[in-house]
Symmetry: C2
């Protein structure tokens, strides 16, 4: 394909993992907050379990297709992802025998709202922004996505998040809600993510797709699927490679 982004007008980005390096950010926050108090803890493994607990909680709340049903649609009943992270953290800390006070728990949970961009993210977005509307489509809270962008210098044209649609990715309601807000049909929007379930769900709804490899998402020894797949419109090594391939 010579012009994979030809009719595309907007790119939708996953944030946690695709645009930002959550593991190194949260590990650093944990080490800073805990200091030398529990020297036996492997904080990298801890953050991996924390992230897995978040995924499990989202699935339990919403069912396998990500739709939160009446609670989500009602808005006020929506559970914030911040609370999901905080509750998961408290359970994990108990399991590891780590005692933090409420302020420390809150501070560590808030590290998910200051996730560092990958080294290519800001420069890649700057190039892509010249040609496309750039928006997020994140399962994180709207406020978290805004805080991450502000802290990391990510410049989005719009912030969309599951909270706005009462449905987490990979629910169709999240992707189609973002398309409705953009005023564009799915085929003129490209979903960009490092998680294949995310791009596959978007593809099933008619969106164009870009898979971005993030081999360090779970650290240097982490098991991550970074295999390119011709089923996606673009397979990219990072956001700069994505910009190259989209002619930006």
């Amino acid at each position: 394909m010579t012009d994979p982004g030809g009719s595309v007008r907007a790119l939708l980005f996953d944030v946690q993992g695709t645009a930002t390096d959550f593991r190194s950010t949260v590990v650093e926050a944990a080490e800073h907050i805990v200091g030398g108090r529990w020297p036996g803890i492997d904080w990298g493994g801890f953050v991996d379990r924390w992230r897995a607990a978040y995924f499990a909680a989202l699935t339990a709340m919403t069912g396998p297709d990500g739709a939160a049903g009446a609670a989500g649609a009602a808005g006020a009943e929506w559970s914030s992802v911040h609370a999901v992270y905080r509750d998961s953290l408290r359970r994990l800390l108990d399991e590891h025998g780590v005692r933090l006070d409420d302020t420390e728990v809150e501070e560590l949970t808030l590290s998910w709202q200051r996730l560092r961009p990958w080294p290519d993210t800001v420069a890649g977005l700057e190039r892509l922004r010249s040609r496309y509307t750039l928006a997020t489509l994140s399962n994180a809270d709207v406020s978290a996505v805004v805080n991450i962008a502000k802290a990391g210098g990510l410049r989005w044209d719009a912030v969309f998040a599951a909270e706005m649609f009462g449905a987490f990715k990979p629910s169709p309601a999240a992707y189609l809600g973002a398309a409705r807000y953009l005023g564009l049909p799915p085929e003129r929007i490209m979903m960009v993510a490092c998680h294949k379930y995310d791009v596959v769900a978007a593809a099933g709804l008619g969106f164009r797709t870009a898979f971005v490899a993030r081999p360090l998402e779970f650290g240097v020894a982490g098991a991550v699927d970074v295999t390119y797949d011709r089923a996606f419109d673009v397979n990219a090594a990072d956001f700069l490679d994505l910009a190259d391939q989209l002619g930006c």
Copy 2:
């Protein structure tokens, strides 16, 4: 008051009128599209009537408090503001005996999505952004707010619009929805607008308020209320003055 923005973390901006000069933009588009074909038309007055028709249509759709009810909450049934402008334009063109084809009607309607910023807007936002989260709260469609920002170089941290809340300003649901997405209580958010009904509605919900005078909103001879009022936390001549008063 020495520090009017002291506890404020985020500013919410009205877009059409407060951040952008819709009248000169739309008049210019009309003159460009129509050319010399109907030399008798006063396009300034035409745009004023178009804007008034938009306000009347929004009020008729939603009731006096701006809430769109079941249709709005259902999302899919929401009437786009673009369609409201287009339908109002068709009626006004008929009344003035002006015949445009569908492409011209669409192009003229789309001029509302390319509104020029006021001369102080971009520089003022850049200063304010160093200290505050900057978001829109507009009655225009999400896609229109995104297009206006992209065309005019307005850098928002988030785009919020009535479409997201199923309710137009001055409905409480619009203001409170934006506060929920920001993750902040109303008293830590300042509503910035040149229309007093907008700041008054926000104040009634506990938001801080900034009134910005836009004496040219309806042209040099237009009747606009630009009287400062001590009931607002800030009264400002433009966004640069607002930045000065908020210590940015």
